[in-house]
Symmetry: C2
Subunit: 376 residues, 2 copies
């Protein structure tokens, strides 16, 4: 009996946006919400106690990376990922598929910059019905990732929400190949679900809708996956080259997913996308954008982004945002952050990341308020 439960508190009168609550064994996730990415079990530059205190309710960890370092056995013996990394709040893990296929095909960004035609460094040895065989870039060990082994790994990690093993097809692919990739992904997701249901362990499992930029295949994916008892629905794969293409595709998709279940947009969470996608009814978004931006000296504020390395920040002795209550804004000035970045001090990355993460938590709280007021 899972303690996972989704309740919708309010459906906006103005859009498809809704405010909800996802209940998990490690607490509540208010939706819509932003999910930060802690690939290796940490947000870069922050410790997990600080992340908890900022109020980030869901953190994304990557099974592929954790498989290779420290390895699933270490996490299992630690008593699961929460205990291992010192996080009290909910965690979601992916299947490892995304990274393995990124290695094989290159990322969409690579492809769009036409770096994707040459395959990467040959770590992926075989892709077949069973799964994917690849070689660890850390120690050369052979690893077979299948729907079953991915789910078993995610059982050992023990995240609150897990994701079935799927194929990330290349962006440039003809329809026939995309269709056979989708069919295999569906078979893999079904096998993942079956494996999960043998021992649900209080975990929820979200399907991943695929079909690339083909509306018909996307519809088929929604249909196939909605018929299976997944706890939620993630949207994966390429949604187009531009934001309008993405929004158009999502608008169509959202009507085809079970409205009573939570949904998640994989790998997209920049501010502009949030603005466009929240009215479509998307519940959670994961992205490394705000934390990566922080490490590149880009600070998010209600008044727009601040490039803190710019000369005009040199003598700004006020906080990034006087209304911000984050640790960084309460204690340090823009001028000091400017200095830390110029001096290439690690502390710069930490303080900027704290602020950007706090900004996202606050931004999502405001979105929820706006939806409750039917303003969005």
């Amino acid at each position: 009996m899972s303690s996972f439960r989704f309740e919708i508190l309010h459906q906006s009168k103005k859009s498809q946006a809704r405010v909800g609550r996802i209940h998990t064994p490690h607490g509540v996730i208010d939706t819509p919400n932003f999910v930060a990415v802690g690939t290796n079990g940490t947000l870069k530059g922050l410790d997990n106690q600080m992340v908890d205190s900022i109020g980030l309710q869901l953190m994304f960890c990557n099974t592929y990376h954790l498989l290779l370092q420290p390895g699933v056995e270490v996490v299992r013996q630690a008593g699961g990922l929460h205990r291992f990394i010192g996080r009290q709040l909910p965690i979601i893990t992916d299947s490892g598929g995304f990274q393995v296929f990124s290695l094989a095909y290159g990322s969409v960004a690579d492809e769009l910059k036409s770096r994707g035609t040459k395959k990467r460094d040959g770590h992926v040895l075989k892709i077949q019905e069973e799964g994917v065989l690849f070689r660890s870039y850390r120690d050369g060990q052979l690893i077979l990732l299948t729907p079953e082994t991915s789910i078993q790994a995610q059982k050992a990690l023990g995240a609150d929400i897990i994701i079935p093993f799927d194929e990330l097809p290349p962006y440039h692919i003809d329809k026939e190949k995309l269709k056979s990739s989708l069919d295999r992904t569906h078979r893999w997701e079904k096998r993942s679900l079956d494996e999960h249901l043998q021992n649900p362990m209080e975990q929820a499992i979200y399907a991943v809708v695929h079909g690339g930029v083909d509306p018909e295949l996307r519809r088929e994916s929604c249909r196939f996956l909605s018929a299976l008892p997944f706890d939620g629905y993630a949207i994966g794969g390429s949604l187009g080259k531009t934001k309008p293409e993405m929004v158009g595709m999502l608008r169509e998709l959202m009507g085809q997913l079970p409205p009573e279940k939570p949904n998640h947009l994989l790998g997209i969470g920049d501010l502009e996308s949030l603005e466009h996608c929240i009215p479509l009814g998307i519940d959670t978004f994961d992205s490394s954008y705000p934390t990566r931006a922080a490490r590149h000296a880009l600070l998010l504020t209600q008044q727009g982004n601040v490039k803190v390395e710019k000369r005009e920040c040199q003598q700004q002795f006020s906080p990034i945002d006087p209304d911000c209550s984050c640790w960084t804004c309460r204690h340090f000035s823009v001028a000091y952050l400017h200095h830390l970045f110029k001096a290439q001090e690690l502390t710069a990355y930490t303080l900027a990341t704290i602020h950007n993460l706090h900004f996202m938590v606050e931004r999502m709280r405001r979105y929820r308020e706006a939806i409750l007021a039917d303003v969005i």
Copy 2:
């Protein structure tokens, strides 16, 4: 009228060690104590609120680095270094001399590895009676560092304790040249003191005893500087190639300094040196050893050092030290730190630095207790 004051609470019956209290405008420094190095106004990987909360009572910042970035004017306009960097507790700055002469001559370590014969990259353009002319490695700006400009810079920074401009002579130097370097250093220190006394601004100034490895010149330096109204005495320059040489030299020196004034050992603070030097009556020690060790995955514990990247740490799910009350030990395990270092996560450096700094604060507290009990 300066609020600087030194009181000796206890003189050990067993050695020259003493327990004291240095009163400064930003609070008390219990002695003996360890002084961490925050070259650019931050300990690498920690923010200054965290550093304050660990209880580090004195932090060392480098005038040379701050002159170049962010520049003294920025700090002045911020209202001084404490406000600029968000530190509530005492700060000590050096004169800039050490770094400028390290650039010119190479460090002692360089010399001992015989890299020191070739001069560095020519940033230092001229050394003469007036001072040193050098070129900023950041923007190519010409900077004249003299006793007067160094003190003026340190006035703008506003540390609780400042240091006169001195020459760091090369380790390999004949006695005649060492003698003329010492004479000039004495003239520079006197000029620095005069400049300081025109406007003491609640700051204390510590002389720097020089004379290299020559006992006679060291005695002369103690004699000359003790006759001047400095608030304390730092020991600088090379004290020998080995620890026994250093300890022998310090033992002799300590008897020649005014016992009622605080003293400081510049740039030395590894655990072995502390063990040898505290019984000699040294009050404060600055060193980047514990923070640099942390970034190299070396954790300090009462039971000895732990190389946390070693394989045996992979599955150690207990804290670094179960008796340690630091943030890192309260929240995270050795296995997690091992993982973070293996994954090359910035968080590793932060968590390890917190622990090592807390260890030093605690170690010094124990030294003070041992002295109070006449055990040392």
